[in-house]
Assembly symmetry: C2
Homo-oligomer: 509 residues x 2
């Protein structure tokens, strides 16, 4: 990003970026790297960066019979559950098969007797089709009304406070929602948004594209990566003093890449801070069901509780603006390929909402089958319904598998020299600190790489395990990390990491 103001001051621009800012017009050679949109060049998105591309090549090489030091590639770089053998939930897919081919609904006897489709699958498909007419038709730009109503009902059940379907916007995954919100929030090159560091790089990448400012605030690794209000305040005030018009704060809870899960009091202090400063809260809650310790508390619930409490003197929390995001890609659903999600707006006026509607209408509507899966995620089979037992078994099985692998990884990291890892609390990731020997850091520098990238590249080349270096998410100066998902089945790949790490440390000690 062009300006990266924050607690440590402005970061220097990498050399390849300064080049991008030279005035450029189209040359006789047409569009070249030198004259394309510099903000596209600035955007960094390590989750699908060099390491991911190289791991894809290894996968192809192995398939073509090439000899490598490993026999499988482990994509622990990206939260892509169904690429890693997580099975989709049967109820969802039985329903979507009927949505795709409604002709099957005229053969309910075959569906039930020969294919084992329960009645509630047939009922759900019928109801969803009534709402969308066809999954091949455009819906309203913010999603089919019946599905938005179902999302509002879910939020109401979850939080115990009302929700209105006209404040719910279905989106193209949560990423599509973030893109929409940031486009509307950022007005010009002085607009800034507070972004946690480490963060999911969608946020800084989108701010780069918008030529707006990421205002980083550091999460507190010693408090299991919780929010540190003093740090947030100091980031805000520094950014303001540098002329940044700070407009919003992003909170990722449960955390990505950190795996942290915030208690209600931390959520409430962020809300109070945002109210004092007039900031929009963007609450990325896509991991809300991936919780291993404690329980998830939504920003919406905490906001409504605060508004209803005695603390709300003079209605000082009434005007808080909150956008909460959710997704079908994560949790036990894991349907990322279907690109579904939603955001709920609280405290936004109708004029702003109609501009948001117009913005999303330019891209017409989110995928309708993804909208339907969103409906099923928020309104799954209930106890007593024919699909419930299988649904619950599958859901619990996936959750338990994640917990077991998270703990296996955590234990492995604990045993590794120079590796320090927080207990897994939520989401799909661990984000351990690594302390590398000086010799390794020197070697990385010689190769023109950041030390954590160097480590992850070596790991990939030796073991086929693909992680993402901490620098892809941001980290405090002088610290090194990597992010791993705990989605890949089995634990043999954890042993590959342990073995590699020992050899790496021995080589560079």
């Amino acid at each position: 990003m062009r300006t990266f103001s924050g607690p440590n001051g402005s970061l220097p621009l990498p050399a390849f970026l300064t080049k991008a800012f030279s005035t450029s017009t189209m040359s006789p050679k047409g569009l070249t790297y030198d004259n394309i949109n510099p903000h596209v060049k600035e955007a960094q998105y390590a989750v699908r960066g060099e390491l991911a591309v190289k791991s894809e090549q290894y996968r192809v090489d192995l398939a073509n019979g090439k000899k490598l030091p490993f026999d499988t590639v482990i994509a622990a770089n990206i939260g892509n559950p169904q690429q890693l053998d997580q099975k989709p939930i049967t109820f969802f897919r039985q329903v979507t098969s009927l949505l795709e081919n409604p002709q099957l609904l005229s053969k309910t006897d075959v569906l039930k007797s020969a294919l084992g489709y329960p009645q509630d699958v047939i009922d759900r498909a019928t109801r969803l089709l009534k709402d969308v007419k066809s999954v091949g038709a455009y819906s309203q730009s913010h999603g089919a009304p019946g599905i938005r109503q179902s999302v509002a009902d879910f939020i109401e059940r979850r939080d115990g406070f009302p929700s209105d379907k006209d404040s719910v916007y279905l989106s193209n995954g949560a990423s599509g929602g973030v893109n929409t919100l940031m486009h509307v929030v950022c007005a010009n090159e002085k607009s800034g948004i507070l972004v946690p560091i480490p963060q999911y790089p969608l946020y800084t990448a989108t701010l780069s594209l918008l030529n707006a400012r990421a205002v980083p605030y550091y999460l507190d690794e010693d408090k299991t990566w919780g929010t540190d209000l003093a740090s947030i305040k100091s980031s805000l005030h520094k950014a303001k003093s540098e002329g940044t018009d700070v407009r919003a704060i992003v909170i990722i809870n449960p955390g990505n890449p950190t795996g942290a899960s915030l208690p209600a009091e931390d959520v409430k202090s962020v809300i109070k801070f945002a109210a004092d400063e007039g900031l929009v809260i963007m609450a990325d809650e896509v991991y809300q069901t991936n919780i291993f310790e404690g329980e998830f508390v939504s920003f919406k619930k905490c906001l409504r509780e605060l508004q209803a409490s005695k603390e709300n003197e003079g209605g000082k929390y009434d005007a808080v603006q909150l956008a909460s995001l959710h997704s079908i890609s994560k949790g036990m659903v894991g349907e990322c390929g279907h690109r579904g999600g939603y955001f709920e707006l609280v405290g936004f006026d109708d004029q702003v909402k109609s501009q948001i509607y117009k913005f999303i209408s330019i891209q017409l509507c989110p995928p309708v089958i993804g909208q339907c899966i969103t409906e099923m995620m928020v309104n799954p089979p209930k106890s007593g319904e024919p699909s419930y037992d299988l649904y619950k078994k599958e859901y619990d099985g996936i959750k338990e598998g994640l917990r077991v692998r998270a703990n296996a990884l955590f234990e492995a990291f604990k045993s590794m020299e120079g590796v320090d890892c927080q207990r897994p609390q939520g989401s799909m990731y661990l984000f351990p600190t690594i302390t590398l020997p000086e010799k390794a850091i020197k070697k990385a520098k010689e190769e023109g790489r950041k030390p954590d990238e160097f480590y992850c590249l070596r790991l990939l080349d030796s073991t086929g395990v693909c992680l993402v270096a901490g620098s892809g998410f941001g980290q405090k100066e002088g610290t090194l990390h990597f992010r791993t998902t705990f989605l890949a089945p089995g634990t043999d790949w954890v042993e590959r990491i342990t073995k590699f790490h020992k050899e790496f440390m021995d080589e560079f000690r």
Copy 2:
């Protein structure tokens, strides 16, 4: 858009936009209409604008038993075939039902005997699943490799020239492709793109969002809305003289909203012009199968022919940069709700392509089920295969229905006073000129509306037929048009328009 330079000089900004440009920071009230991104406010997207929203309300009112002057709403404003009773093609949906629920593939006997699924449906689903693993998993950001290969094979068959899967990028409908390309092409607020007028408003809306310049060139209504090279050149030179860095030209062929279909010689003259001027060509070819007169000739084919011809002295056409877009939303496929499409790049260097890849990776990947339908669109059942006869019957039936309704509308428009319409050649639209009486124009002004909007609003209020006013697409100063799709079944709604028009003319004559 802020700057709208072109043959008629800069257009004045509407009053509500000048307000948007006042310097604004976040107020204590947080995000308001006054301080959101002004470029979002500038963007205009009439296809889903006021008329469309009002028509949705009428639909709800009718469903709730409210008495209106009509008993159905006819959405002739948007190319949304399956909302208007166009049936999806059976082969596509049988395959997607299996992709959604691969468990069914273990019961092929039931599928075949009790549900009538042919063997090629089962084979196709099996092959696609091998490529994507699960439709719930993220694919590569530019799409699953096997599907990109299938698209490349299709382009090769269609044009008789090679195509490379690594130059094919699957997208979120063609709209997603346009968004990607414009983000990369436009470098700053001086960047401009030549856009036909009338145009599909996605183009100017996206340029508004990017704070870049739409450089309009007028299509020639007297030549059935063909391209007029003299007009394009004069637009380019005027824009350049005003300091616009013109980087690309958009061509929509077959035309939207015009329905024009360009002959090969017109395509080639655009390519020669782009080569001379070093412009990227963005060829929007989403209506390539919606052709009623002549045949579709792709930009890619014409470019390769030019490059292979004697005209290519000194290799002057070798460096032409072309991006061709296609979609599953239109044609006889009509699967807009599935958000599938692709673009093929020709003449772009690898550095630019890797920036394009990074840009799309920030939003992860296009919907995987939409990718699979893209594969089936470009590789439908072949003669001799079990699904072929039904596929052909359905495909031809949809095409013939469109042709019949296009001609019925054309004949109706011919008979209407003050309405002048070009013969339908392609796409899904007619875009007649209307000449309104002075009194109507005066009345519109009194209501603060453009005359064509006034007409379309009156039409909607009286008949329930929803069109889009020509001003939503751009039109020559002093001319008035409207766009209608010819997707709505039956022809009674055409009579509603005829009757309304007569009464309207009588009222204001």
